[in-house]
């Protein structure tokens, strides 16, 4: 006698689904459900948070958020940050990866050294950086003093906030990006370089016509993940500026705005609306990147 269930288990698709189920449940509960829930919550205009009863819905929250000067400032700050941090981070990582991929001594040591910031928690890095940048006792100003320059009020000058955040994020993400790019570089068959040399390609020509195109999958991956990551910047600001959004709100980012609305002002619906807008922005950037980088069919 055959039991039908047994047949299901023999079906490869069904078995694969079973293996995928646990992860799917967790991701579904903690990732997908909140997305839909916050999207829905963004429309609540009158509601009781504790009992989850909604009396009125509407676009008010979205309109409020989009008109809120703080949100616009947060959006501006975040966009400037993303615009510099993501490409610069990849560019610098690429330079380091290419150097590390050439025949230099202590390769493994360098790789580990660059990777350390990535495995260190953002909180401790931010604390260390806030001490380095301390106006009176910081390493940065001590160094400037040796060089005979004036002190800089790193953490209290509003013009310094975004550059510092960019530098911090590049430095922190460097190791991870280098590892990804190194793996990509090492995946490029040496034969292509030999062939290109025989075809008369000089060093920079080989870089642009062989290395970059063949590294594209890694670069696209990094560009998408680092843009998403950059849009979500929060911990660095929160810790380095002692729970404040930087001098004159110069470090106010979207996630900080959401955090502020949610935990400090208890404006859950506004926070949800802002979170959903952030989700849309990230989605848009990601889709755009896919559209621009996916292989196009060549026209005649």
């Amino acid at each position: 006698m055959r039991i039908p269930v047994k047949k299901y288990f023999k079906n490869d698709n069904f078995r694969a689904f079973l293996y995928l189920l646990p992860a799917l449940l967790i991701i579904g509960t903690f990732q997908f459900y909140p997305i839909f829930k916050s999207f829905a919550m963004g429309f609540y205009t009158k509601f009781d948070y504790l009992t989850d009863t909604v009396y009125e819905v509407g676009f008010d929250n979205f309109i409020y958020v989009l008109k809120d000067p703080d949100f616009i400032l947060a959006m501006k700050n975040t966009c400037i940050f993303v615009f510099f941090a993501a490409p610069l981070g990849i560019l610098i990582a690429l330079i380091f990866a290419v150097i590390l991929n050439s025949n230099i001594h202590f390769k493994k040591l360098f790789r580990s050294v660059y990777f350390v910031p990535f495995v260190t928690s953002t909180v401790s890095i931010s604390i260390v950086w806030s001490w380095i940048l301390n106006k009176d006792y910081g390493l940065a100003n001590a160094f400037l003093k040796i060089m005979g320059m004036n002190k800089i009020a790193w953490l209290t000058d509003s013009n310094m906030t975004i550059p510092i955040l960019i530098a911090l994020s590049i430095w922190k993400g460097l190791g991870y990006k280098i590892i990804i790019l190194l793996a990509g570089l090492q995946g490029i068959d040496q034969q292509y370089y030999f062939a290109a040399r025989m075809d008369g390609a000089r060093k920079h020509q080989r870089f642009w016509s062989i290395t970059i195109p063949l590294l594209k999958p890694s670069l696209v991956f990094l560009s998408i993940t680092s843009i998403i990551g950059a849009f979500k910047i929060f911990d660095e600001v929160y810790i380095m500026y002692s729970q404040q959004p930087g001098p004159l709100k110069s470090g106010l980012t979207i996630v900080y705005y959401i955090f502020n609305k949610f935990y400090r002002h208890w404006e859950f619906a506004t926070a949800s609306a802002a979170a959903f807008i952030l989700f849309l922005v990230i989605l848009m950037f990601t889709v755009l990147q896919f559209a621009f980088t996916s292989p196009k069919e060549k026209e005649e």
Partner: protein, 350 residues
Amino acid sequence: MNIKLENVSKQFKNVLAVDHLNIEISDGELICLLGPSGCGKSTTLSMIAGLEKPSEGAIHFDGENVNEVEAEHRDIGMVFQNYALYPHMTVLENIMFPLKMRKYKKSVMIEKALKVAELMQIIELKNRKPSQLSGGQQQRVAIGRALVKEPKILLLDEPLSNLDARLRIELRDEIRNLQRKLKITTIFVTHDQEEAMSISDKILLMNKGISQQYSSPKEMYREPNNQFVAGFLGNPPMNFLPGYYDVAVKQLYMQENGESVLIPWDKPQTMVGLPKGEVIIGIRPEDLYIVQERGVLMGEIKSIQTLGKEIYIRIDICGVLVTACVSWDHTYHVKERVHLGIKKIHVFAR
């Protein structure tokens, strides 16, 4: 272009890959670098290409020392064993690549590339990516890419070893015809002796980084310099018998298990360093033939292997197994005692 290697050596960490190599290749010749794997043939090719620098010695192109000229400036076309087509470019873009690096005008590039594609019969594949091509097609593209810049030298590094037997023969003849037509100095690396014999003007046979013989295929087969050359060329391989040359009476004997058999050797030894005392006698399987009686050698048939056009017979002569390659006109049996005649013998120092 005339290529000359003068005392060229290549030392890798603790291996001497190429050991004081001296060869000269005339303009328009097709040379095969032949040898077992690890004999230094690919390293030699890399040094000519400029991808490796010789540790010692000099490489001359048309009398000019090119040791310090980088590969990208040597103007050499090269075809690699695994084709090394750029995976992100189409067939046409691959072929155009060398021209693009030389900053040709786009219209000229396309015109030249199409012409080469036509020559290689790959014109209908021009918009495909390498991953959409078969091995043979990829190799045609690779040859096209090597030829498009009209180089003076063409290097081929085991270009046919990844292809199936039939295609290999087809492409090999094509390469030969193309080479004759374009009169381009060509160096072809292979470990396949048949390939080397069939297409080259001259063969350089190498072993352990040392040149063993550099001559025409015929000469290499008929007059091998040493036992290695003799044993490397020919299928089935040459039979080697222990022998003794008595200088006093000028006679050659085969010696094994205490027995001595006189081997008539009419040809006075022309080899330099006339072998004295113990020698190796080499006889090609096709130079052994079976006679009714009074053969030079006598032995017992151990096994018979029938092939399409001929039969290989393994014969035990005083404990030494030799292979004879005979025709079908007689039926032989295992354990039969036969007399053998010898057409031609080679003698090597032991």
